[in-house]
């Protein structure tokens, strides 16, 4: 076990439950390294929903809240509201974040509360056996769409940008160094951070969607199909070739939710001291 693992994993739960070659283990490592380099371990709290990706939070030796399917973001907002000094990281999957908990993502983005959402996108419902997910590409073959998916895919980064998230980026498991750097930026960013990670799932995505169950093939597919394009206006040309744009897309400074709440409380207290009610 490498020294980061010795320090950051719950040894009683090891070995990882993930299939051989799964990208989730690489994300556990990237998250642990980002936290190690920032030195925020004592303040770290993680929330997770249901899915393979939820295990990322469970294996990390920090405060963990594992909640109902899709409800990881509301739980994170609650944790942040009770103690604003906490660093909250929510680890969700594509089904958890875009389908079952889709509405929570919209409103967390809009609210600009200081949490970090790490969305692990493997383009399929992997834990339940490879059904079609909102992130499955058009004409993609899965267990429930054997003749090809007839729906267009939902792009989480576009949704986050449209809803007003102040930090949006997308990387993949084939770019671990960039991912660590971005996770560090996202955790220290003041405001809602949305980091999407394209991850390989050799067992479900690989076998049914891409055509090979080999971890090497899946990692190479990600390397070939992830193109760095940081300007959202130029995504269309990248996507027209069947590729996925990656990079750090948005980083803005905007009023943060908990700070605004504190300011409002202060305002009301001052007004009440003067005798008014607001």
């Amino acid at each position: 076990m490498n020294p980061i693992g010795e320090k950051y994993l719950r040894k009683a739960f090891l070995p990882f439950i993930f299939c051989p070659g799964c990208g989730d283990g690489m994300i556990v490592q990237a998250l642990a390294r980002a936290v190690e380099e920032l030195g925020v371990r004592d303040d770290l709290a993680l929330t997770a929903g249901i899915g393979c990706s939820a295990w990322i939070a469970v294996y990390t030796h920090a405060d963990v809240l594992k909640v109902l399917h899709g409800r990881a973001i509301p739980a994170a907002i609650g944790l942040k509201a009770t103690k604003p000094s906490r660093k909250i990281v929510t680890v969700t999957g594509d089904g958890d974040c875009l389908a079952i908990g889709g509405n929570h993502l919209l409103h967390a983005c809009r609210r600009n509360i200081d949490i970090t959402v790490v969305m692990v996108n493997n383009q399929i419902y992997a834990m339940t056996g490879g059904q079609v997910a909102p992130s499955t590409p058009f004409t993609g073959k899965t267990q429930t769409t054997p003749y090809g998916n007839v729906e267009k895919k939902l792009d989480g980064c576009r949704v986050a940008i449209a809803c007003g998230a102040t930090f949006v980026s997308r990387w993949s498991t084939a770019h671990p160094k960039q991912l660590i750097k971005t996770l560090k930026k996202a955790i220290s960013h003041k405001g809602f951070s949305y980091v999407e990670v394209i991850s390989q799932c050799p067992v479900q995505t690989g076998r049914y969607l891409l055509g090979s169950g080999s971890p090497q093939f899946n990692l190479q597919w990600i390397k070939d199909h992830c193109v760095k394009q940081e300007d959202p206006a130029k995504w269309a040309e990248v996507e027209a070739q069947g590729n996925i744009p990656i990079g750090d897309f948005v980083q803005l400074e905007q009023p943060e939710f908990m700070e605004e709440v504190a300011k409002m409380n202060q305002r009301v207290k001052e007004a009440q001291a003067k005798g008014g009610d607001r």
Partner: protein, 78 residues
């Protein structure tokens, strides 16, 4: 010049996905004949003299079983 003293593969956790062999730019690994505790064929460190201790295999190991120990007085490279 940088190099690795030792590459440690933890046989308790290795699942034999061979991403380390695939990702290594210096051709250090090969498929071994030894099985890990989880009954997968493990990679073998065949050509450690090629290793530049870049740490890519460590970052790409999905089971965090790999440790590259750099040459300078047993100091570990990230």
């Amino acid at each position: 010049m940088k190099g690795a003293e030792k590459i440690d593969i933890d046989r308790r956790y290795c699942k034999g996905c061979m991403l380390c062999k695939y990702i290594c730019p210096c051709d250090v690994y090969e498929l071994g004949q030894e099985r890990s505790d989880l009954d997968y064929l493990m990679p073998r460190v065949a050509r450690i003299e090629n290793c530049k201790a870049c740490g890519l295999c460590e970052l790409h190991c999905p089971d965090m079983a790999l440790t590259v120990i750099g040459k300078e007085k047993g100091k570990e490279k990230a």
